[in-house]
C-alpha cells in the first residue's frame, strides 16, 4: 500500500487500451458573476479498464459533478473528457444519448427504477431501448450474481431498498457497458444490504472484468475498490491503491485539515 500525490496533468502515459474513461484538466463552473462556484478545478484523472475505482471526498467536494461530467450527463466548462476512445466533450445530445446507451451504465443513490416495470423489465430496459437482444447466458449469470432469481416479476414497490439497488446493479451490468458509474449506490442502504451490493460490484470487476467508477463518502465502501481518488474543494488531492478502510479514513482525516466545503468563488 502506498500513498502518492497526483502528478501534473497528463503526466500519466496515454495507455488507451487500459483506460476506460479519462478527464483532462476538467473545470466545472456553476452560475455567473457574483454567484459563480467552481465545483471542479482542473481535475485530471485516468480510470483504468477492468478496475474498480472509488472517488472519495467530503460532501460538496465535487464528486457527483465529476461523475456527471465523466459520464456525459453534464458538460464541462473547460478541459476534456474521454470515454474509451471517444472524445465526449462537445458531443451533441443525440450522440451523447447514444454513448450513454451503448457504453455507459448507471447506478444512482435512489430512484433507479421505473415503478411501472417489473424487476426483469427494468434490468433489460437499456437493451430494449437500444433494440438489442439480451445474451441469455449472461443475463442468467447476472441474475445469479445479484441473487434476484425469485424476484424478477416483482415491481419496485414490492422490493426492499437493497433489492431495488441490486436490480439497478443488474441493469447496469447486463448491457456490459464500457464503464459503470455509481453515485453513492449504498447511500440509502443499511450496512448489510450495502455490503451485499458492494460485494458483487467487486465480484463483477474481478470475475468479469467490468470497469466501475463509484462515488462515495463512506470509507468502508471505498475499501472495496482497487483504487481511491480523493477529491477536496474540486481538486484531486490524493490517491490510494488497494486501500483498507482505515487507510481511507486516515487519508480523509488529513484532507479534512485543509479547507473543505463548497468550492471557492473564482474570478472571471
Amino acid at each position: 500500500m502506498q500513498t502518492t500525490t497526483t502528478g501534473p496533468p497528463g503526466a500519466e502515459a496515454r495507455q488507451d487500451a487500459t483506460v476506460a474513461a479519462r478527464a483532462v484538466d476538467v473545470w466545472k463552473v456553476y452560475g455567473s458573476g457574483e454567484a459563480q462556484v467552481a465545483a471542479l478545478r482542473g481535475v485530471s484523472v485516468d480510470l483504468g479498464r477492468g478496475r474498480f475505482t472509488a472517488i472519495m471526498g467530503p460532501s460538496g467536494s465535487g464528486k457527483s459533478t465529476l461523475m456527471h461530467c465523466l459520464a456525459g450527463l453534464d458538460t464541462v466548462t473547460r478541459g476534456e473528457v474521454h470515454i474509451g476512445d471517444v472524445l465526449v466533450t462537445g458531443l451533441g445530445d443525440a450522440k451523447l444519448t447514444r454513448l450513454r446507451r451503448d457504453q455507459v451504465g448507471f447506478i444512482f443513490q435512489q430512484f433507479n427504477l421505473l415503478p411501472s416495470l417489473t424487476a426483469q423489465e427494468n434490468i433489460l430496459l437499456p437493451l430494449s431501448i437500444a433494440g438489442r437482444k439480451p445474451d441469455r447466458d449472461w443475463f442468467a449469470q447476472v441474475i445469479e450474481i445479484v441473487g434476484l432469481g425469485d424476484r424478477l416479476s416483482h415491481r419496485p414497490s414490492q422490493l426492499s431498498g437493497g433489492q431495488q439497488q441490486r436490480v439497478a446493479c443488474a441493469r447496469a451490468l447486463v448491457a456490459r457497458p464500457n464503464v459503470i458509474f455509481a453515485d453513492e449506490p449504498t447511500g440509502n442502504l443499511d450496512s448489510r444490504s450495502g455490503a451485499e451490493v458492494l460485494g458483487f460490484l467487486r465480484r463483477s470487476v474481478r470475475d468479469y472484468g467490468q470497469t466501475i467508477v463509484m462515488v462515495t463518502h463512506d470509507p468502508n465502501a471505498a475499501s472495496y475498490a482497487d483504487r481511491v481518488v480523493f477529491l477536496a474543494d474540486g481538486e484531486v488531492r490524493a490517491e490510494l491503491h488497494a486501500p483498507t478502510a482505515d487507510a481511507v479514513l486516515d487519508t480523509m482525516g488529513r484532507l479534512d485539515t485543509g479547507p473543505v466545503g463548497a468550492g471557492r468563488t473564482v474570478g472571471a
Binding site: R100, F108, F111, P115, L117, R171
Partner: protein, 850 residues
Amino acid sequence: MLRATLKSLRSRKLRLVLSGIAVVLGVMFVSGAFVLTSTLGASFDSLSASVYAGTDVAVSGKAPVSGGEPDENSATVPAELIGDVRAVSGVEKATGVVSVSGARVIGADGKVVTTSGPARLGTSWTGTADHRRLRTGREPRAADEIAVNASLAAAAGIEVGDRVGVLTLQPKKTFTLVGVFGYSGDRDTVGGAQEVSFIEPVAQELMLGRTGVYSAVVVEAAPGVAPEVLRDRLSAALGDTYDVKTGRQLQDAAAEVFREALSFFNNVLLGFAGVALFVGTFLILNTFSILVAQRVKELALMRAIGASRWQMIGSVLVEALVIGIVASALGLGAGIGVGALLAYVFRHVGNTDLPMESIEIPASAVVSAFAVGTLVTLVAALLPAVRAARVPPVAALREVAAPDRPLTRLTVAGVLITAIGGAALGLGLAGQGGAATMPLLLGGVLVSFTGIALLTPMIARPVVSVLGLLFSRSVPGRLGRLNSARNPRRTAITAAALMVGLALITGVHVVLESATASFTTMVDTRVKADLIISGAPGGDSAPTFDPAVLGRARQIGGVREVVGEYGDIAMINGRPNRVTAVTDLAAMTRMLPLRATEGTLATLPAGHLAVDAKRATELGLHAGSTVRVRLARGGVRTMTVAGVYTDDDVYRVGGWILPAEAAHDFRVAQPSFGYLRLADGADVSEVRKQIDALLADSPEVTVGDRGAFIAQQSSQFDTILAMIQLLLALAILIAVLGIVNTLALSVLERTRELGLLRAIGLRRSQAMLMIAVEAVVISVFGALLGLAVGSGLGATVVRALRKEGFTDVALPWERMGTYLVLAVIVGAFAATLPAIRAARVDVLHAIAHE
C-alpha cells in the same frame, strides 16, 4: 393559510389556466346566449316600432282553421268592412291591405329564393305613405307588374325591367319587375323578410285566393283619439267576427314571435354551454386531484405543523373559488364578444338588416356567468379537497407511494348512479313524465354520463392495456402504454371528457341514421311507385307544383297510373287536423302501404273521406260515421267515412284522406307530391326526362326514383348534423385541453423517471413518442367509450320510438370510424406540448436527489 394558498396558486398558473379554460368556454356560451337574445330582441323592438308606426289599429279576420300552422294566412276580411270601419267615429283613415307569406320568387338562376326563416310575403301595393320607400323604378300599375324589396332583388339577382316568375297560391306566373323598394330607416328588409308587391286585385287573387278580400284593414286614428279607445270602439261596432288590435299590440305580438324564433339559437348556445361545463367539471376535478396527489408531502407537513382538516379543505376550495371567479370573468368577457359577433352575423350574413344601436348586456348574463362558473368549479374541486384533508401528517415523514386505492366503492357508486340515470331516461322515453319529460331526458343523460364516468376507471385498465398492445412493439410505445394504465382514475376522467362529447354526437347520429334507415326500408319495401315528384322539406311554405302536371304526366307513354297528393290543415269536429286530398285513392293503395280494415278504399266519392285506424278508434268512427269538416275555404261540411285503413308504419299519409275535389278549398290548391307507376318494361329514365320537362315551371319540386326521394327527404337532417359538427368541435377542443393538462401534470410528476430513462439512453424522440402513445391511448379509449355509450343511448331512443315508425337501428359506422381516426389525431396533437416538455427534461436535474 390563505396567503399560502394564493401563493401556491400563483406558482401553478399554467395548469390552472388550462383547467379553467373549459369553465371559460362554458360561461362564454351561457353569457353569449343572454347577450345575443337581448341585443337582437332590443333591435327587433326598435325595428317593429318603426314598422307599426303608421298603424294605430288593425282589423283582421279570425282564421277558419286555427291551431294549425297556416293560421292568419287564411283569415280574410271582406272589402265591405272598410266602409263599416270608416263609419266608426275617430277613424281618420282606413286602408285594406294584403300581406301574406308564401310568395316565392324564382331567381335569375332559375331557383326559388329562400330565406333562413323569415317570411316571403306577397302584398298589395299601398303606396309609399307607410314605411315603404321606392329606391328605383316605380310602383306596380298593371296586373303583370311587381315591385320587390331591395334584399330580395339582390338575393334573386334581378333588376328593374326583368321578367320574374313568382309562385303563389297559383302555379308560376311571370311578371315584369318595375320597382325596387326599401323601408324607412334606409333598410333593405324588415328583419330578413322578402316582399313581393302586386297591384291590389292581383295580390288578392294570388295570395288570398279571391278578389274582394283583404288580410286586414289598417286604421289611422283621428287626432286626439287614443289607439286603445279606437280599438274598443271598433270592437264594439264590428262584433267578435273580427280581431281588433292596436299597433302596439301587433308590435308586441311580432316581437314575441321573433323571440320564439331566437329561442332556438338560445337553446343551441345553452346546450353548448351545458356540454362545456359538464366536461369542464371533469377537467377541474382531474387537475385538482393530481395537484393534491403531487402535494401530499406539502399537505402532510401542514397537517403536521397543526393545520386542521377544515383548513385543508378550505385551502383547496379557496383555490377553486379564485379560479372560478377568474374563469367566470374571462368567460363573461368572451361571451359578450361572442354575443356581439353572433348578433353581427345575424344582421349581416343572415341578411336581416336589423338596426343595431348597441350591445345589450343584461344583468342576467353577468349573474348567471358568475353563478355558473364559480359553482361548477367549486363542485368539481370538492372531492379533491376532501382527499387533501385525508392526507395523514405522517405522510410528510415517510415515502408514500400513491397506493392503488381499490375501485370497489367507486364502481358501486357508478353502477347506482348509472341505474338512476337510466331509469330517468327510460321514464322520459316512455313518455310517462308529461311536462317533466324533457327534464327527465336531459337529467337522465347527464346522470347516466356521470355514472358511466365513475365506472370508467374500472374499465380503463383492461381496455387501455389491450389498446396499448398496438404500440407495444417499441420500448417507448410500451412505456407509454404502461403509463396510461398506471393511474386508471386519471386516465378515465381524462378520457371521460372526450367520452361525453362523442357519446352525445354519436347518439344523435344513431337516431338520425336509424330514421333514415327506417324510412329507406319503408320506402324500399312498401312504396311501389316508380317515380315520385316531391320537394325538399323545410322552409316557410311546403313545396308544391302545378296540378296540370298530373294530367299531362298521364299522357306520357309508359306511365300507367298517377296520383297527386295535396296537404293542408283542417278543423275536424272542431279540432285542427292534418288532411290530405288524393286524386285517385285506389291507385294510391297500389303504390303506398294502405290497407282497408273497414269499408273500402277503392273509391272515394265527393263528401266522403278515409281515416286511419288509430284516429278512427280514438274518435269511435266506423265506415258510415259522419264528421264535421271545415277547410281553409268554405263553410263547415259534413263528410261520411267511406273507409278505415291501417298504414302501420311511418308513412306521412297517416290521417284524413279526402277526395280530390276538397283540394279546391285547401289554402294552397296545388299538390305537394306526385306518385307514378309505370307500365312493365317502360324506360324509367325516358319517362323521367319528360316529367322533368313538365316540371320546368315548378322549380320547388323534382322527380326521381325511390332512391332520390329518400335522399331528398333525409336532407332535412343536414342542419342538425351541421349543429352536431359544431358540438363535436367544441367537445374535441375541451378534450384536447384535458389531455394536454393531464399529460403536462404527468410529465411533471415523472420528471425523475424521464431523467433516469434519458440517462440510460432513451433518445429525445423516443421520450416524445412515449408521451404521444400515452395521449393516443387515452384519447382512443375516450373515443371508444363515447362511441359505445352513444350507440347505446341512440339505440335506446330508437327502440323507444319504435311505435313512431323507427323500425331499424342503424349505426353510422363510417362516421364512427372517422371519429376514431380523429381521436388518434387529437391524441397526437394534444401530446405535442407535453412531449416537448418531456424531451426537454434535464437529465441531471431529474436524477439529483434533494
